[in-house]
Each structure stands twice: as structure tokens, then as C-alpha cells.
């Protein structure tokens, strides 16, 4: 995997995302979106391909496989658990997209654009935001095809966009 940021940069970006979320820095429309957009590349660059990633994916596939086995001899029991995980990651990505889009866009794009992260006050971490960001960052490479292009493309695009930020803020590399 090609890394856009150095490990120091990843750590800085991750802490920056945590701080923006925890201290609730910024106006309402910007704050959660900025924390989310910074969290995704930090998790992607920092943890993708690690043992944590492999363990998470293994557990998730195990749960899906168990659920498929529960259906006995139904035709759907032969479904690929990896593909089901892929579609779930795609659904989470869609939820993240709805949260990023401004509510004014709902006139053209429908009610998805009105979805928002749950409100969280000062001195509080928005757990749902982080759950979505970790899912997209760690598991974004699981789906294949068009949805895979969307999720892994998002990861790489955000990594490219935020790569110079730690250097600007703290200097060095």
C-alpha cells in the first residue's frame, strides 16, 4: 500500500480529528464534517492492512457466515460472506455521504442529504462518527466493483487531500 503521509503525519492527523471532535471546534456545519473527513485518512493510512484490520474483517466475516449458515439449506446460504460485508461497507459509506452533504442539497438529492451525525456537545466524542470513519477507513478495500471504487477511492482521495496538513501545522515531515 502506498502511504501518502509519514507515521508522524498520520498520528498528528488522527489527534487533530480527535481534538476537533472532542473540543467541538468550529461552526456547526463544519465541525463534524471536518472531523469525519480527517478521521478517515488517518485511520486508512494508519491502520489499514494491520493486524487490527485483519482481525476486524475476520470477525465480521465470521458473523456474516454464521448468519448465512443459520438459514439452513436455503439458496441464499451459499452467498459469499465477503460480498455481504462489501455491501454493508457500501451502506455505511452512503450514510457518511449523507452526513457530509448539506441539507440544502436535499431538494435535488432527496432525504439522504438531510441525514446528519448525531449531535454531540462540547467535551464529548461523537462515537457514531468515529464508528463510521473507522469502518470506511479499515474496510474500504473489502468491496469490489463500483462500490469498491467508491469506498477505496474515498480513502485515497482524502489521504491525498489531507497529506500536507500535518506538515503545515507542525512542520517537518
Amino acid at each position: 500500500m502506498h502511504h501518502e503521509m509519514s507515521p508522524t503525519g498520520v498520528a498528528v492527523l488522527l489527534l487533530l480529528a480527535v481534538v476537533v471532535d472532542y473540543v467541538s471546534i468550529g461552526p456547526n456545519w463544519l465541525r463534524d464534517r471536518l472531523a469525519f473527513l480527517m478521521a478517515i485518512p488517518a485511520v486508512y493510512e494508519g491502520f489499514n492492512g494491520s493486524q487490527l484490520d485483519a482481525w476486524t474483517l475476520e470477525r465480521l466475516t465470521g458473523v456474516i457466515q454464521w448468519a448465512l449458515d443459520q438459514s439452513g439449506n436455503a439458496y441464499i446460504a451459499g452467498a459469499s460472506a465477503a460480498a455481504v460485508v462489501g455491501i454493508l461497507v457500501g451502506a455505511v459509506w452512503l450514510y457518511g455521504l449523507g452526513c457530509i452533504l448539506p441539507a440544502k442539497a436535499s431538494k435535488r438529492l432527496g432525504r439522504l442529504a438531510t441525514v446528519n451525525f448525531p449531535p454531540s456537545g462540547v467535551w464529548a466524542i461523537n462515537w457514531k462518527l468515529w464508528a463510521v470513519a473507522v469502518t470506511i477507513g479499515l474496510l474500504g478495500d473489502v468491496p469490489l466493483g463500483w462500490i469498491g471504487d467508491l469506498t477505496s477511492g474515498t480513502n485515497e482521495l482524502l489521504a491525498d487531500v489531507f497529506a500536507p496538513l500535518p506538515g503545515f501545522l507542525l512542520g517537518g515531515n
Binding site: 441539507a103 436535499s106 431538494k107 432525504r111 442529504a113 438531510t114
Partner: protein, 77 residues
């Protein structure tokens, strides 16, 4: 403000329903009679939203300027 013409927009929360329609009303926003007029419009627009199969859980009606479309007044139930 004297009697003027405004455009009404109906929202469910942040989502504008019936955005292709153009609801226009003549009302004087300085007179207290505007409360009853706008309330009746709100009820009618909420009903139209429900007919259009939109869930109207948090209806908000915005009284907007006719030309620019900028909201002048917000009316809730």
C-alpha cells in the same frame, strides 16, 4: 410592511417538500391577522405534503420574498 405578496415554502425539518410547487399569498405581516392566515396555510400545506406521500413529522413553513426567495418569516405549528 404593507400588504405584500410572498411565496410559501413548506419543509419537513430541513427537507423542502413540494419544492416544484409555487404557493403565493397576499398578507400584511404587521397586522395580527397574519397569524390566523399563516396558520391556515400551514395546515393546508402540511396536508398537501402528506398527500404527496412525504412524512411531515416536523413541518416548518417559510414565508419567502417573492423575487429573491429569501426567507422572511418561519412558521411552525
Amino acid at each position: 410592511m404593507a400588504l405584500a405578496r410572498y411565496r410559501l415554502r413548506i419543509f419537513d425539518g430541513a427537507y423542502e417538500v413540494l419544492h416544484n410547487n409555487r404557493f403565493v399569498i397576499d398578507v400584511d405581516l404587521d397586522q395580527p391577522t397574519m397569524n390566523a392566515i399563516l396558520d391556515r396555510q400551514l395546515v393546508a400545506l402540511v396536508e398537501l405534503g402528506r398527500i404527496a406521500n412525504e412524512p411531515m413529522d416536523r413541518p416548518v413553513m417559510k414565508v419567502c420574498d417573492l423575487d429573491t426567495g429569501r426567507p422572511v418569516l418561519d412558521v411552525v405549528a
